[in-house]
Symmetry: C2
Subunit: 438 residues, 2 copies
């Protein structure tokens, strides 16, 4: 009989289709939510009184770069293309398996401590196994893929031919896709149109369909990038991926610079928009027209993007900002808090083709639960729990996290990562890496 | 001999004119910074090893409303004038001395726990003594004044005649200005032009000059408010206060909607702009042209404004947002992190006419110090301490706060406020208040 956990008296924010919020009990059996009711009179292997907590679905971030976490606070005040070519690519090019593993562990530690349980990650060109290993050991749930870059100027450590890029991606897919009952999955991840040949974009799309995995890339983040894509390919970013018939499950990060036709395509082809508000502001990229996307029924989810363009991986920052930045443009009624909470949970699940598994608290779904302290001087009182979660809650209010039925955070302490060791290793490893990247 | 505290091995971010940052020691004697050096070989009554901390000047927020903290998360998705008339004024009107005291305590608790040591506060029309009493007991440093409202539609509890408003303000000034060696000061606080007669605006300006105290109001926050001011007074908000010769130390919150002439006036008359980025976004007011103001040498400081339009009182949120929101408009180079940190410290001190007392870590200044944990998974590594403070640091990283030479936060525990009691009282007090406000 699998291990059971009875959670009592919690304020449960389900994010189910009815958006039910109620105080009650929740039974976890194995890695699933087994029962959910105002009161459960059953016994379990483990019982927790959660009267002081709000419980939300584990948060889902659909666009992050674990390999960049080590470069936090090292690349401010640059626009996208300078940021990539002057800082991020040279840094990434200098990564070793050890440094990339540490970067991933640091990122996963931050993500779990702030309540995120599933991510879609884009790696760099090499050492992707080290990222998967860090994910495997941490208990984190992820859809990840190595970055593919077979075109354009780039440092030596990021160079590969089209065939090398595809072969390595397929090797990684075969090695990692489906690991631990699907906790880890593979996604093809061409970096962005400017770093790829048409052949690579097309072939990965075909392979994504063949292997039934996601296709994850950046598009229309920055105005200059968008113009360069149009120059090189003769169509917009969004049209390009549509014309290539790249896949039937496309996940495009950013989509800041889209015109009417692009929006129609996003809508018609059910393309998933991965919105990264902090990164879009910090790189001066712009403000994505999210209220318009939502009105069109486009699925919009959230991601912190890279630590060096954020400089956190904190879902509460992204939710707050996703709500706030639209209001001067679209009015204070735009982006109500409940819509934003959906972006950080169920919409993320939908983007990852996992809406039957995660993204809401419902019987039968995976037991990914975030326990948030309810009674803090910065977040009381409240009338509207959505307002509280989106505007007032801080990352540190996350106290426990259950992921795939296992405790990965308990009383603020990471259960699967040696936080102290990670913290002690960072500066030394970074110093070594920076020396090589010079 | 006064009590001495020796702080060893800290990373000291001085915000002095040279923007010195160094690892070293700091001696506090009484309520003053007495010595500052890479190494001090002296003994003190109390010695602290601060090797794990960044020490910054205590943060200064120049525009908050303690009386509104109890209404956090109760007034989302409204524009300024609706927000005031439908929610905030009815709430404020229902305040009792007990509820306003609790609201202030809750706000001060949040402010201290997130490292803010000095505020400029605008109260409501009545019960200002209760706010001063809460400030006095908490050890907080504040420039505060009752809101003045002698004009326009407003609930009963906010009604007063011009003479009553002035008399009560002067009584409060005489009672509280200079309390505890200047830790508490008075400022005249006409709510905004639309709530005041010309007579009141003019007379308070005269009195502010006479008593040498600050003049604190809202101006040009919202486009409709700005238009209504122009309709009623025939000039813009900024011109109005200038024409009234209201004072020679004017502190104007927001200044979002200013034209070329307004900006010239702000510059020529050395008017202090109190910038509240979260509130400006949340109420859909707009984005203030801060890079332009800074280029003109206008003194811009920061404030969280009211909890119901933020919904935090967290200086780290305001710094991050002040930096981020300008970048899509003015480029990623705009608003570098060091300029933002100044806004949250020394510029705030300047706005409050206290730049000789607070806002930087310098010998002779008041010992207002914020100790920030340096080694957190969400904020390491770092190359640039300003980037770390502005983008990566979270409120909860604040571990100790020294204010006026006294510990008000020690290891995360409030020393002058009974946090548990405050937390326990909030819901009951709010429920009672909401019943009366219906």
């Amino acid at each position: 009989m699998s291990h059971s956990i009875l959670i009592k008296n919690a304020l449960i924010v389900t994010v189910n289709p009815q958006m039910d919020v109620f105080r009650g009990d929740l039974l976890v059996r194995g890695n699933r939510i087994d029962e959910l009711a105002p009161s459960l009179n059953i016994s379990a292997d483990e019982t927790i009184d959660a009267i002081d907590y709000i419980i939300t679905p584990g948060f889902v971030q659909t666009h992050v770069h674990l390999c960049q976490v080590l470069f936090r606070n090292l690349a401010d005040d640059l626009s996208l293309l300078d940021w990539l070519t002057k800082k991020i690519w040279p840094f990434e090019s200098s990564h070793t398996p050890e440094s990339i593993s540490l970067s991933a562990q640091l990122g996963i530690a931050e993500l779990i401590k702030s309540g995120t349980t599933t991510i879609m990650d884009m790696g760099t060109v090499r050492h992707q196994d080290a990222i998967f290993e860090a994910l495997a050991q941490s208990g984190m749930s992820a859809v990840a893929g190595k970055a593919m870059m077979d075109f354009g100027d780039r440092p030596e450590g990021l160079q590969e031919t089209t065939q090398q890029s595809i072969d390595e991606s397929v090797r990684l897919l075969k090695q990692w896709h489906g690991y631990d009952d699907g906790r880890l999955q593979y996604a093809f991840a061409p970096r962005f149109a400017l770093s790829c040949t048409r052949e690579l974009l097309q072939e990965t799309g075909r392979l994504a369909r063949e292997y039934r995995v996601l296709y994850h890339t950046h598009a229309s983040e920055n105005i200059k990038e968008s113009e360069l894509v149009r120059e090189r390919f003769g169509v917009s970013n969004i049209q390009l991926f549509d014309k290539l018939e790249a896949t039937d499950h496309l996940c495009l990060a950013h989509c800041v610079w889209t015109d009417h036709d692009d929006k129609e395509l996003l809508q018609d082809k059910k393309i998933n928009v991965l919105h990264c508000p902090s990164a879009n502001l910090k790189l001066g990229s712009g403000i994505a027209p999210i209220p318009d996307y939502l009105e069109r029924g486009i699925n919009v989810s959230l991601g912190a993007d890279g630590a060096p363009c954020n400089n956190n991986l904190n879902i509460f920052q992204e939710m707050r900002l996703a709500a706030l930045i639209q209001k001067p443009l679209s009015g204070p009624q735009s982006m109500p808090a409940d819509a934003v909470l959906k972006m950080a949970t169920i919409n993320g699940a939908r983007a990852l083709n996992m809406e039957n598994q995660i993204g809401s608290i419902e019987v039968g779904k995976r037991a990914d639960l975030t326990f948030i302290k309810n009674n803090q001087v910065h977040s009381i009182p409240f009338d509207n729990v959505y307002s509280k979660l989106v505007y007032s809650t801080q990352a540190n209010d996350v106290e426990h996290v259950l992921l795939n039925g296992k405790w990965v955070l308990k009383a603020g302490i990471l259960q699967t990562i040696d936080e102290k060791k990670v913290l002690q290793s960072v500066n030394k490893t970074l110093a070594k890496l920076l020396q090589t990247s010079k």
